[in-house]
């Protein structure tokens, strides 16, 4: 278990699952969940390289900034989704294709 490749594989699978969610889901909130999975995979890579790749504590700081950015992104994205819902009465992203309401 103690190897860089193990963690890289886990992160790759997590990333691919998140991407699968983003491209197949139709609900805006579900797409957001896929994005969270992708960000977690990136963080896992940062920390794996921090432990095995000599990135040390700098990797932890990068991961911390990714978490901060994810929090900001989730807040704004959900505000946008709720706005879309108020205007269109749906959050099916395939149905939202006009700028005017």
């Amino acid at each position: 278990m103690d190897s860089l490749n193990t963690y890289l594989f886990i992160a790759a699978i997590l990333f691919s699952l998140g991407l699968f969610g983003v491209i197949t889901r139709r609900n805006g909130v579900a797409v957001l969940m896929g994005i969270e999975l992708i960000l977690n995979a990136a963080n896992l890579n940062f920390l794996a390289f921090a432990k095995y790749g000599g990135m040390n504590i700098v990797g932890h700081i990068f991961a911390l900034f990714v978490i901060i950015m994810a929090a900001a992104e989730a807040a704004v994205a959900l505000a946008i989704i709720i706005n879309i819902y108020n205007n269109f009465r749906t959050i099916n992203i395939d149905d939202v294709r006009e700028l005017q309401q």
Binding site: L14, F15, G18, N43, I61, M69, L78, A79
Partner: protein
């Protein structure tokens, strides 16, 4: 013993991530996302990142997941039976994603990664704090500005009319 715990965490993480992207019911997806986030936090512990594991639980589970559940509840009428969300083009998406996994796997196996002898850090929290106040002060301040802007922007966007 540690091996068993590690693989249990890995299976928990990836299995619940699979449920997140495949389950038909949105609320079940959110609950599965809870387990994925906890699993990733446990993996952080295996990677000696105890502070990051705590931050992950506090910010993701305590903040973002609650926000997502709010989003689900606010964007579905309670009366509507269908709080589900079917997926489209699962076949094509699955094939594309499998291809990406294979390409990433080949890339991981064939790259000569730079690896060093690792020493376990005595304490991560104090070092992270010092680095944030010294070398990374500017990104730290920019991040605080970003959070402020996101706070104001989200409040302004989600306000209903005048």
């Amino acid at each position: 013993m540690i091996d068993v715990a590690f693989w249990f965490v890995v299976i928990l993480t990836l299995g619940s991530a699979l449920i997140v992207v495949l389950n038909e019911k949105l609320v079940y997806s959110a609950i599965a996302l809870l387990f994925t986030l906890f699993g990733v936090a446990s993996l952080y512990v295996f990677l000696w990142a105890d502070f990051l594991a705590g931050a992950q639980v506090v910010i993701y589970v305590g903040g973002i997941l609650v926000l997502i559940i709010f989003g689900i509840m606010l964007t579905n009428r309670i009366t509507s039976v269908n709080i589900s969300h079917t997926s489209v083009q699962k076949g094509m998406g699955g094939v594309a994603v499998l291809g990406i996994i294979i390409v990433l796997g080949i890339m991981i196996l064939n790259t000569p990664w730079y690896q060093t002898e690792f020493v376990e850090p005595a304490q991560t929290t104090a070092t992270i704090g010092t680095l944030l106040m010294m070398e990374y002060l500017l990104p730290f301040e920019v991040a605080s500005l970003l959070l402020l802007a996101a706070l104001i922007g989200a409040a302004m966007l989600s306000r209903s009319g005048e």
